[in-house]
């Protein structure tokens, strides 16, 4: 994957496939510590300990349409290549937390990329899976909550394509406004 944003979309899709009704995605750029951290928390069906242990094995997948599962192993490889790590915590029936970090200045670190388009894609599913996005830099924080956005929109669905086009631009404008260098 060329962008971290695509990995985050992949993680969020995992959560939606796991039946999550609410996601929280946090990206933190800590320049003094030279870290880029991301956390995705969901309230999906969760995984048993043996499944968590095999989740980063590329030749393990619970799906039946193919025999490999590359999403988490690819992301783990990216984090480790960039001086970081990936951790998965999960409880059956309670949800999953995926937490990863990378060295912000690492030459191999993929760019964050088009987060606006990622949140736009996720917002298509916001009628059954709401999400909160939080982007922190040293000094500023951008927060977005689909439940709150829907309240502002009233009877107009967040899934209206014109609203979703606005959303993508809005997110990217604000990530830039909080001084993102990722």
């Amino acid at each position: 994957m060329r962008e971290l944003a695509l990995h985050l979309l992949d993680l969020a899709r995992n959560a939606i496939e796991a039946g999550a009704t609410a996601l929280t995605l946090t990206v933190t750029e800590d320049e003094p510590a030279d870290r880029l951290e991301f956390v995705l928390q969901d309230d999906g069906r969760g995984m048993a300990p043996d499944t968590v242990a095999r989740a980063t094995d590329p030749f393990y997948s619970t799906r039946t349409t193919r025999r490999v599962g590359l999403g988490l192993p690819l992301l783990q490889a990216t984090c480790e290549r960039c001086g970081g790590r990936l951790d998965i915590h999960s409880q059956p029936g309670e949800g999953t937390v995926v937490r990863g970090n990378l060295t912000l200045s690492h030459v191999d670190r993929p760019p964050l990329g088009d987060m606006g388009a990622v949140l736009q894609a996720l917002a298509c599913e916001s009628d059954h899976t709401s999400f909160r996005y939080c982007h922190r830099t040293n000094g500023a924080t951008f927060e977005l909550d689909t439940v709150e956005l829907q309240r502002e929109l009233g009877e107009v669905p967040l899934t209206d394509p014109r609203v979703l086009c606005w959303l993508a631009q809005f997110v990217n404008d604000h990530i830039r406004d909080v001084g993102s260098k990722a």
């Binding site: 992949d10 599962g69 590359l70 894609a121 500023a140 909550d145 929109l153 394509p161 086009c165």
Partner: protein
């Protein structure tokens, strides 16, 4: 593990006063928020006259394979084209990998009077054509169709 609970939206908050003298905690995006309200008014008006496309549905495959192959860009182009054409009654959704990884990005389009059409190797340009040809005009874009009849 606590459930993700919604909190009030704050958009941007600044921990410190920034160089352009933004007061602490101010909302920077007043103009953009107003745009959302303007959008709401326009969309409300359009809701009254919708239903022109007879409930067309588009499903974009968003498994790891789809995302790596460009499904996000296809999704953005699809939403942009629907917005440009004011096609607000087309249901857009996503699915995971259905085993057609080598044909990704894969998109399934369901329109009135046609069996479901599965398209493969879809690009942003191709999805815009599918909107015009199949969703608006009822014509399958046959050179990209890889399957008809089943809803992948």
């Amino acid at each position: 593990m606590s459930r993700a609970t919604p909190r009030p939206i704050r958009y941007v908050t600044h921990d410190t006063v920034s160089s352009d003298n933004e007061p602490e905690g101010s909302i920077e995006s007043v103009k953009t928020r107003e745009e959302l309200q303007a959008l709401r008014e326009r969309a409300k008006a359009a809701l009254a006259v919708r239903d022109s496309q007879g409930g067309a549905r588009v499903v974009v495959a968003m498994g790891t394979c789809g995302i790596a192959a460009g499904a996000r860009e296809v999704m953005s182009a699809l939403l942009d084209e629907l917005a440009l054409r004011d096609l607000t009654d087309v249901a857009v959704s996503q699915t995971g990998c259905k085993g057609l990884c080598d044909k990704e990005p894969v998109v399934v389009v369901v329109t009135a009077g046609l069996p479901a059409v599965t398209y493969g190797r879809v690009t942003p340009q191709v999805i815009r054509r599918i909107v015009a040809d199949q969703i608006v005009n009822g014509q399958v874009v046959s050179e990209y169709a890889i399957m008809t009849g089943s809803e992948a």
